[in-house]
């Protein structure tokens, strides 16, 4: 497993305490899991995704990731509607391990961008990981 200083944690994303990230792109946003999360989970073998059109509140479970070690819930960083799921992950869940930022899980239309303030910056997220 990676040491904290070996993790790839891009700037410009917002992170959750449950190790998801969100990136705003116009009026949409993409959501995935952090390098720390994919490293902790180990080889991911199945990504369970919501349906397009589903709506979730901030922090609500929107799917699960199954690895050889465990099954882990994924929580939506922002309230919003699912407008696209990353179909490629159905056949190739390992993409999340390969690059957890390139391979987002869902694209959403956020309902309230002010919720971003409650999410962590990269420095705050690093503090969390360093305990």
């Amino acid at each position: 497993m990676k040491e904290i200083n070996e993790l790839n944690l891009p700037d410009g994303l917002r992170y959750t305490r449950d190790h998801e990230w969100v990136k705003i792109m116009g009026d949409a946003a993409i959501v995935g899991i952090s390098d720390y999360a994919q490293d902790q989970l180990g080889d991911i073998v199945y990504v369970e995704m919501p349906e397009v059109g589903d709506e979730f509140k901030q922090g609500e479970e929107f799917g699960t990731l199954e690895s050889v070690k465990a099954v882990s819930e994924t929580y939506l960083p922002l309230t919003g509607e699912i407008i696209e799921i990353n179909e490629a992950l159905a056949d190739a869940p390992e993409l999340v391990n390969k690059d957890p930022y390139e391979n987002w899980i869902v694209r959403i239309r956020p309902a309230d961008l002010s919720e971003l303030d409650s999410l962590l910056t990269v420095d705050e997220y690093l503090d969390l990981l360093n305990g």
Binding site: D43, V45, Y46, K69, A70, P93
Partner: protein, 486 residues
């Protein structure tokens, strides 16, 4: 290390059945038909399944060989935490195979099977005595089946009082099957985080317990191997809000004759006879997960139950409030007989002693290994102890690597990566079966593995090296499962 058990020996290979045999071989001769052939609808005719052609001896040798590759509690120490892999005394099988018991037909009228009914009646009594509760159903076939039965009783109880409750509290140190069993009954699991000491916090329960909540499912001792010290207060909070307390009795091996579950405030508990009461555990069953309840819930138990009146023992199905039948006939009767045999052989005093020794053995391992492996909750444990791989991170060695390497030393790996509240968990449960000498050898093996992790980590990354099957590609197996055999 001397006398490492898995380092010598002959491992014979065995091909797949599809690679064995020859076209035309068969295990039996079917006599020529002495009636005219009947035509078969053309729509039903097609390619047959791809079965290999094998003789009887081909098949016998194949499966005998596979059984020799197997590892069981009869071949070595099996410290699989949360599973209580204790030795199954052979007298249990002898008793269960007694013709008067084994050949008794489940549809015999009560008058003709008083002996088998008496076994079940007395087993109900014994299990009530072990838990401190009042009434028992022997029907559930496994622990999770017992949980399901318990949740059906929760629902029936609330319904009888005119309520429908939709949520259930489940601590993060409960067994993994608990939320699934509750969800199957339409209850939404609400996780309760454990405190920093690994204990369930009564304040956290009080905050979450409300009138929509049916109750709580507590595993005690919990999956960290710790006894929930606040159980009586927690039960009080749940009862005050009109809820019930379910106890997952999978870890009962720590507290037989020690904890009275009724006094702890537990309303329903299931027991795993295949854990605590030494009945066979592997191969996917059959198991048994009897459910014990307090007096007020007796009327909701599955039917039929064995009762006794002045004419003798009989099956009683007349119980309008019952949740109904949950298993055909009487549950897994052959397993019930084995547990009955175990309890009768041991007696109350020795069941108590078994729990004491199981706890002593786990604490011995905890103390001996805590200088080698990180121990997240350093306090007296019950029948199992939970370490982590934190100190091995620096050498890029994981829990999985160490577990695989243990196989080279002749041990079944412990439970790993569970409970989830400990990252890289290594959960060791020796049970009372093992002698001090055997436990010392296990500890010695683990110390050697910790040394290797530091000095020769590459040995661990490739482990196991001496087993018939080397490191499996679990990822490929999960991503591209092959379930057809060829």
């Amino acid at each position: 290390m001397k006398n490492v058990s898995a380092t010598v020996g002959l491992i014979l290979n065995e091909p797949l059945l599809w690679e064995k045999g020859q076209k035309g071989r068969r295990g039996m001769d079917v006599p020529a038909a002495d009636v005219p052939p009947a035509g078969i609808d053309a729509g039903l005719i097609g390619e047959g399944p791809d079965f290999p052609d094998l003789s009887e001896v081909d098949v016998i040798r194949h499966y005998t060989r596979l059984s020799q590759w197997n590892f069981g509690v009869d071949t070595g120490m099996y410290p699989l935490g949360s599973c209580t892999m204790k030795y199954n005394p052979k007298i249990n099988d002898t008793v269960a195979a007694t013709p008067e018991i084994a050949a008794s037909h489940p549809m015999l009228p009560d008058a003709l099977c008083q002996g088998t009914l008496k076994i079940m009646y007395e087993l109900q009594d014994y299990l009530a005595a072990v838990t401190g509760l009042d009434a028992v159903s022997l029907q559930p076939a496994a622990g999770a089946h017992g949980e399901l039965t318990g949740m059906l009783i929760f629902a029936a109880y609330h319904k009888s009082r005119g309520f429908r409750r939709t949520k259930i509290l489940i601590p993060d140190t409960a067994h993994g099957t608990n939320p699934a069993s509750a969800a199957l009954c339409g209850l939404q699991p609400v996780p309760v985080p454990s405190g920093p000491d690994g204990m369930l916090d009564p304040e956290a329960v009080a905050r979450l317990m409300d009138e929509q909540t049916a109750g709580i499912m507590v595993t005690n001792p919990n999956t960290l191997g710790l006894f929930e010290e606040n159980i009586i207060r927690i039960a009080g909070i749940v009862h005050d809000a009109g809820g019930l307390v379910y106890g997952d009795g999978a870890n009962m091996n720590a507290v037989m004759g020690v904890a009275d579950l009724k006094r702890c405030g537990v309303d329903i508990v299931h027991l795993n006879l295949h854990k605590t009461f030494s009945t066979p555990h592997g191969g996917g069953g059959p198991g048994a997960g009897p459910v014990c309840v307090v007096e007020a819930l007796r009327k909701f138990l599955p039917v039929p139950r064995v009762v006794r009146d002045k004419r003798g023992y009989r099956l009683d199905g007349n119980c309008p409030d019952s949740v109904g039948r949950i298993h055909a006939f009487h549950g897994n009767f052959g397993i019930l007989v084995r547990a009955y045999s175990y309890i009768r052989c041991m007696g109350a005093e020795n069941l108590h002693r078994a729990s004491q020794l199981a706890v002593l053995n786990a604490n011995y391992i905890k103390e001996k290994l805590k200088g080698e492996l990180h121990l997240p909750y350093d306090r007296p444990c019950m029948h199992e102890c939970v370490f982590s791989d934190l100190w091995q991170h620096a050498y890029k060695v994981s829990t999985l690597d160490m577990a695989k390497r243990l196989m080279d030393f002749g041990y079944h790996p412990p439970t790993i990566y569970f409970p989830l509240v400990v990252g890289g968990a290594i959960m060791i449960e020796p049970t009372e079966t093992e002698s001090k000498a055997d436990i010392d050898r296990f500890i010695e093996a683990f110390c050697e593995i910790v040394r290797e992790a530091k000095e020769e980590p590459e040995i661990l990354h490739g482990a196991p090296h001496l087993c018939k099957v080397k490191r499996l590609d679990e990822t490929a197996a999960a991503r591209h499962p092959c379930l057809t055999g060829c």
